[in-house]
Symmetry: C2
Subunit: 195 residues, 2 copies
């Protein structure tokens, strides 16, 4: 039942993801997505009625996947430091390449006052990302790898730093020192021993 449609929607989301990462949220139109997917206007509207709907679906899939990856690793007793390293390296990639960052589109979406006043789909993303980090931090504390910090406030530090660097790195045309410094600061905050 409806296999074809699922596949098409998958393709739409993949292509739209690329567009959002390159151009930001507002800049992407249904027409753009038509062109990249090869679908016609009618064909696309059959599946999604707006760019926002596509965007929110991607956003939530994005953070859900991240959460389940972290969850799985915790269950497999992968060391917290290792999970942290992986998460941060993804962050680092995006910080270094602000010209191709889906998170930047999320940031733009958040900061547009005209958007999502009482939409809870986007706050869900925040909650998911928050709980991912809090779980990881609590886990790291319980295994003795991390310092006994407050998970919530450290999450905010990470979130804020990330936001700031993203903006900064676009401005300063990718001075790679700053992102590295920030990531080191986060590690210092969490990890007990850093040589």
């Amino acid at each position: 039942m409806s296999l074809k449609g699922d596949k098409t929607r998958q393709i739409i989301r993949e292509k739209a993801y690329q567009l959002f990462a390159q151009k930001g949220f507002k800049e992407v139109t249904m027409k753009d997505i038509c062109e990249l997917t090869g679908l016609s206007r009618g064909g696309l509207y059959r599946h999604y009625e707006s760019t926002e709907q596509i965007f929110l679906e991607i956003v939530n899939a994005f953070s859900d996947r991240q959460k389940s990856e972290v969850d799985t690793k915790i269950k497999q007793h992968v060391p917290a430091a290792e999970i942290l390293e992986e998460l941060l390296s993804k962050y680092a990639d995006e910080m270094m390449n602000p010209e191709n960052s889906f998170s930047l589109a999320i940031c733009e979406y958040y900061s547009n006052p005209a958007v999502s006043k009482e939409d809870n789909s986007i706050t869900r993303q925040y909650q998911t990302s928050k709980s991912t980090w809090e779980e990881l931090i609590s886990y790291g504390i319980s295994t003795g790898e991390f310092n006994p910090v407050n998970p919530e406030s450290v999450f905010h530090v990470i979130l804020f730093a990330y936001q700031g660097v993203r903006m900064y790195s676009r401005l300063m045309k990718m001075d790679s020192e700053i992102p590295t410094q920030i990531i080191e600061e986060i590690k210092k905050l969490l990890l007990k021993e850093i040589s």
Copy 2:
């Protein structure tokens, strides 16, 4: 010589400022500005050729004014702690009212990848704001009021925190604790004694 035009441009900037603060950058059109100012399309285009041009003029005037205010106070030997207090209280206002924040529009403008790739007008804003803070911090250190921190990195902490909280406060519908906490953290960082 051209007094009328200067006045009109002033009005345009004032009204546009309100619109940007309410709706963000992308959402404001030349039409909107026409309606609010009472000017016709032709009349408006006589003075400005795009919303971006208006926006950048406001942005730069905004940070220039802030800088000159701080400069003047330093020359008058106003205590650094007092100047800091004033700056932070303005920040706090905007953090608490993300629905009416011009800085949020700046943030949106920064985070839109399609905008200002090699425009240096917006990096000028960053530079001005950076030098304002660095001057204030250096001054505070020289008077012995502030801890001997690194002005540049503290500026970045402030900038990043500000960014993050702005985003956060829209999401969480103004939980006023977080902004206050962040401001306290900044003060702790700088001021020698906090009761």
